[in-house]
Amino acid sequence: MKIDIRHIAKLSKIRIEDQEIPKFEKDMERIIGMVEQLPDISGMDLSPNPADAMQLREDVAVSDKYTRNELLANAPQVQAGCIVVPKTVE
């Protein structure tokens, strides 16, 4: 199957340079070729299994566990206690 790498990369917010396109295209086509071997399954539905042990959490009030400074310590760019991002509205 032919893959439009540029389109998929755009959806993924990943930039792939022109010279890398053939390599990614080849890899992806081989990988898609492998995953296409998945057999068709009939007689199954995807409704949830009531026996699954997932539990809903009880309601518990959320409290502030961290200070603003602790949370901002990992931010790439901070100014006046806020995270700096490029201008989004002209």
Partner: protein
């Protein structure tokens, strides 16, 4: 024998008898790290200072006569995708090179409550995507049994640290075999627990419905003890299971009489090395001679599992890794002209090629027009495979297979061929797809002297049975090889 070569069980007894201190144990492990790390490369970060503080705290408690957990004072390495407060958690990625979490993962809290001593953070394939530890942004880890070969992956640093004596036990994580395959390649024990039994809170997500943290050690008993620390309900993880857990060490009696072992013929197909098949068959014969009942079974859907795995895991990864955008934490590109430009440059520079491939695949299978053909089909397959396993467990207690179709390959051998790399997960991915527990134990070596792994798969929540079976095998072979000599 040096302290770093001993098992957690032996060290625990020595601590209680006051034959040694926690500081002496840690000193021995760090001396080994200092002597071996330049050849093995298991760690991304060492936490020497904190570790000695933790060891001294344990010694003070022992001196005060306090009752301690059996694993108190035992050095443990932690895979670098598990969050550690105040200690960098990089996922071996440029994207998180400078990320220092403000909190501990639940499993790390549990290690600390037990009084365990964290030696450092262990190398891995970038974001746990890989089977050889070669996709790490920082370094290659070498297999302690043969330094020219890969340790497996993605928990390659964990397996190598345990095999080389650079840690007594370690935590790994397993999404498609990432604990078991490196355990097999490095000749150690690795347990992938039932989904939901170990909290994922603080584990950097790869494929949330498949990821599970688990223990790695040089003996089954150490593995069982560490699993006992890790498992349990956690309200911080919505998929955490609410149930009571038995003691995982009390049933370890070495007896395999009457144990019903199913052997699925599909796991011994043409793609599995002859030497691997031979060693696994020898292990099964030994178990049979000692009273286990071997039954050949069939799991006909095995063939589709690798395809289903890469669809499900990559679909979830493409969504999970969307959070790495350079805004709130992690790497941010230097020059950009707009928000979109910043996202694209950040992700292109921050992620390695394997991570990009998997995000692209996941995005593709979820994209408009392809969802039914890939993702939905894979989810249906998952149900079918789970039902098939459930049926098989009506007649057997455990299912035995090779852990990997091969033994450790040479560094660089498969790095340019993603499909060849993915094929080394062929025996392990079924377990994650069906949410089952499985353990890998060493079962001898091939002609080149490389370890072969025997995988035992159990039904959901049957870790006790798995550990008993694995311990039975360990007893029959007179124990596994200890720390590698690194010659």
């Amino acid at each position: 024998m040096e302290l770093y070569q001993k098992s957690a069980v032996e060290l625990s007894a020595m601590l209680r008898r006051k034959d040694c201190s926690a500081r002496e144990i840690l000193s021995s492990v760090y001396a080994r790290i200092d002597g071996a790390e330049d050849r093995v490369g298991a760690y991304v970060t060492l936490t020497r200072e904190k570790a000695f503080e933790q060891a001294d705290a344990v010694d003070a408690k022992i001196a005060a006569g306090e009752q301690l957990h059996p694993l108190a004072g035992i050095p443990v390495g932690v895979k670098d995708n598990i969050c550690t407060k105040g200690v960098a958690t990089t996922c071996s990625s440029r994207m998180l090179e400078n990320f220092v979490p403000p909190y501990n993962a639940t499993v790390v809290e549990r290690l600390m409550q037990a009084g365990m001593v964290m030696t450092g953070k262990l190398n891995m394939d970038e974001f746990a995507m890989g089977s050889s530890c070669e996709t790490s942004y920082f370094k290659k880890t070498h297999n302690p049994r043969d330094l020219s070969r890969v340790p497996g992956g993605s928990s390659g640093g964990s397996a190598a640290a345990v095999a080389s004596g650079e840690a007594v036990v370690a935590l790994g994580s397993d999404t498609g075999g990432s604990i078991r395959q490196p355990a097999a390649y490095c000749g150690v024990v690795g347990l992938k627990p039932t989904y939901g039994t170990v909290s994922r809170y603080g584990l950097v997500a790869f494929a949330s419905s498949l990821d599970q943290i688990g223990p790695m050690a040089r003996t089954v008993t150490d593995t069982a003890m560490l699993y006992g620390v890790l498992c349990g309900h956690d309200r911080m993880d919505a998929t955490s299971v609410l149930r009571e857990y038995p003691s995982f060490t009390s049933g370890l009696d070495g007896n395999v009489a009457g144990l019903r072992i199913g052997v699925p013929r599909e796991y011994f197909s043409a793609g599995v090395d002859a030497s691997v098949k031979e060693k696994v068959q020898e292990a099964l014969s030994l178990l049979e001679r000692n009273g286990a009942v071997i039954r050949e079974i069939s799991l006909p859907n095995t063939d589709g599992a690798l395809a289903a795995y890469y669809i499900l895991a990559c679909a979830e990864a493409s969504s999970n890794l969307a959070r790495f955008d350079g805004v709130k934490y992690g790497y941010r590109a230097k020059d950009y002209t707009s928000l979109n430009d910043m996202y694209e440059k950040t992700r292109s520079e921050g992620f390695g090629d394997e991570v990009k491939r998997r995000i692209l695949l996941g995005t593709f299978v979820l994209s408009s027009g392809y969802y039914d053909a890939y993702y939905k089909k894979a989810k249906l397959f998952q149900k079918k495979l789970s039902a098939e396993f459930e049926e098989a467990f009506a007649d057997c207690d455990v299912i035995a297979t090779p852990t990997a179709p091969n033994t450790a390959f040479r560094i660089g051998e498969n790095v340019d061929d993603p499909l060849k790399m993915y094929a080394s997960d062929v025996c392990t991915v079924t377990v994650n797809i069906a949410s089952l527990p499985a353990i890998s134990v060493p079962c001898g070596v091939d002609a080149a002297g490389l370890p072969v792994g025997l995988q035992l798969i159990g039904s959901r929540y049957s870790e006790q049975t798995l550990l008993r079976a694995a311990f039975g095998y360990e007893t029959l072979v007179g124990g596994f090889d200890g720390v590698a000599a690194l010659s």
